[in-house]
Subunit: 349 residues, 3 copies
């Protein structure tokens, strides 16, 4: 994409100092900028870089005063970082908007209903009775099983797999390779040591504004629903097992795993590679440190750490001593020696 500097200054309501016809083709940090880059200066400690940047233009604070010659055009605004993110937003929306229409070949069941301004990439598959909202973007090689619903303005990147009966809300973004609605892991042990698969006929429900990361897997409920509430943000390679429920605005970092039927409250933060056992409940605002193993219900606002997890402070205190266990052992051995001496009446001092 290509923009003229005048266009950009107008978009962020900034004061342009320089040639309004300069062409901007990319956005970059000050240090890595190239010719054609637009950059920004927000933190004063990076001010020195503005005198050597290769950027064609830089967004600066309206109070900005150059101490030396600046090699680029400037756009002065109130909050350079905010203005920059406004441009990022604008750029991303433009890119997404460009994708529109049905690429062939693509499989759309005749019973499916499609909204306006949708994109369906080549080799995507839309099953029977699927309902697709307005402005939904379905990238190539996406699979949407029968009877599923996708709300307005949602984006499914390449290779997303949506099992039958899944419900996805509005403004959801699902990154490539994510799987929604795979069978839960349920098996009844038999007398001969083998396992009988328990049929999984529930589904997955994503409310509005949910983001799901690449290659993350969310299992369907056994016969009810696995539910991801409004505003939940889920990173890459995460496992959410059958019948889990994740509360509003909870954030889960990469490679965390949540076992079956566990309920997570609102506004929780779950660190990367953390694991939660099944059938427990995290209260609202619980914070789980990365790599922790949660085996019990939590209390509102609790911070947890360790495997199995203690409260954050307890774990840190214990681990501080763990680090110096060899010294503690020596202290004890020294005491043993001293007491032996005392017993023998030989004071060593």
């Amino acid at each position: 994409m290509e923009f003229k500097l005048a266009q950009i200054a107008k978009l962020i309501d900034g004061q342009l100092i320089g040639d309004e016809n300069i062409k901007i083709t990319n956005l970059h940090g000050l240090e890595n900028a190239l010719s054609g880059s637009l950059s920004f200066l927000s933190n004063p400690k990076y001010k020195k870089h503005i005198y050597t940047t290769k950027a064609s233009a830089v967004i600066v604070n309206e109070q900005f005063n150059a101490d030396a010659k600046v090699p680029c055009a400037l756009i002065k605004v109130k909050d350079p970082y905010l203005s920059f993110t406004i441009l990022l937003d604008y750029y991303v929306k433009l890119k997404v908007k460009q994708k529109v229409g049905i690429e062939q070949p693509c499989h759309i069941a005749t019973s499916a209903t499609l909204g306006s301004e949708i994109y369906a990439g080549a080799f995507s598959y839309i099953g029977e009775n699927v309902s697709i909202g307005n402005n939904v973007k379905i990238y190539p090689q996406v699979y949407i099983g029968d009877n599923s619903q996708i709300g307005d303005h949602s984006i499914l990147y390449s290779g997303v797999k949506v099992y039958a009966e899944t419900i996805i809300g509005k403004h959801c973004t699902i990154q490539a390779g994510a799987v929604l609605g795979s069978d839960g892991f349920g098996f009844a042990p038999q007398d001969d040591g083998s396992y009988k698969t328990i049929p999984q006929i529930g589904n997955v429900i994503l409310e509005d504004h949910v983001d799901v990361g690449a290659n993350t897997t969310i299992d369907c409920g056994t016969f009810e629903s696995t539910i991801i509430r409004r505003g939940v943000k889920i990173d890459n390679l995460i496992q959410l097992a059958h019948n889990t429920e994740i509360g509003e605005n909870t954030v889960i970092a990469a490679q965390a795993g949540i076992s079956g039927s566990t309920k997570v409250g609102k506004n929780c933060i779950i660190g990367g590679q953390a694991g939660l056992v099944g059938h427990i409940t995290l209260a609202d605002n619980t914070k789980i440190q990365a790599q922790s193993g949660i085996t019990k219900n939590s209390k509102e606002g609790q911070a947890l750490y360790g495997s199995p997890a203690l409260t954050y402070n307890n774990y840190v205190r214990s681990y501080t001593i763990f680090k110096r266990l060899p010294e503690l052992l020596k202290q004890v051995e020294l005491l043993e020696e001293k007491i032996l001496n005392l017993h023998q009446g030989k004071h060593d001092s």
Copy 2:
């Protein structure tokens, strides 16, 4: 799908109390049931919910006596939960049966052989000399590399990737996005610090009744086979490295990882996010606690826990004291003080 209540009562050999023409369109728990739902009451502690349920019909024990007016039809049977799972099974099999035929476009090599009643979804790919058994269901966007074999009644959900030469037994179910036969991670260090890739020409063998979870990866053997024995159940996002062998009826929970050439015995249970180093052997019936790190061979029936793992009991005992290390440190410091006092002849009591 839609069933009449009379049909359902007949399927589970139950006594119907209510209108046999009621239409059932879904299965749900008592509390979440809707009009059209069939539910069940198994645990007496949920009995109260039957008086307020929105379900159209509920399966109850043959001894069930209502204490008040029940707002739904009833089907009386010996074991309500068992009857419910029979219906689940029936429903799932019906759903799978419905998928039959070859959807176009789909790539089937002329040298491939196909069994009867198979389903091959649009955009699926079946390579040279592939052999597909009877009643196999291949969902859209599945890839099956050259010379692979898929046994009767196996299901490969959307986006499963099967490398060339893979052998999949009968009654296997592979969830979406799973990868079978990717190259093992083998590299020979070179003098200049770089690595040379060691070619991986082995394959993956799944025996009968193996279930593989979504986005799980199973690497091929270097030049022999990675083998998953009969009845093994593998959850989502699991890594099984080259030349691993998993014994009959072993169950592996999500996000566990098993390194190269490690052999796991029969009837083992491996918890979520556990990791096993390479070239070790787990004896039959070994139990690995979630998040544990296994670095050594195990003995039959051993339970292991921790990273690196100890026996389950040892880890729990040590961790119990870990939790109170700050107090232990204080105890030791107090002792030091007391002994100092003793040395100085000043008894503090």
Copy 3:
């Protein structure tokens, strides 16, 4: 594939003892070999197996002297293992070479440029302005987003997803289901507890000779690049977050995760399931033990272990005492008792 023994002996410059017309159809270890197998004997401790092997031919050391009748043909060479890997290499390259041409249907944008001798499998997708080098192999159902570049001799296995703007070097191998360029996990907290997605417009750059494992995910930079340097080897199910940079010839084992903006030096080894927090720097030659949690910068050549990680030796020393904490507690309790006795003037010996 099928080779005559004479061909094979010639390829590895070996002395053939046996029928030069024997047909070799597979490569196997001595114990698992079948009729048609070629095997090798390198380690003298396996010599006994050569008298009972079912292999049709075995590569042996030129000094090899049979103590009894050998049931197979022999090829004598200087270094049997090296010769065997030369054959593996040859075999793999032959297999890859066979894949050539464009299978239909496949989506290739008219603005894309394609090198010579490429393979593009059915249902693969090559977007606008994509540039594909010579001898690149793109397996079925691969997605390559707009403006991406793939260097000569690279292989993308089935189902790989490459977001727009990604740059892949020469001689890279990407296993099935890997995702390159998914959106980084960045969200700005809002006053109402919800999160606003921070647009991610950067890309992923893979230099030459990079290997990426199955279902691994590499996020794009926020507005710069996530960079994987020359010769890096990345196993399956790994998460590399936005703006990470991995130094030359670093090796990362399965299921490890690296958080945003972290820089890893050259020639590092990162164990399986290890996790690194964001915004830290690992010096060259750092070694991370499996399952460790790295929270701080490392020094060159450091070995780290534990969660949070200590130096390798510190962790091992502390964990050795952790294992015997129950005994340490008893030692302390015994001391308390003894001191109590001393205080009371009752020496217990």
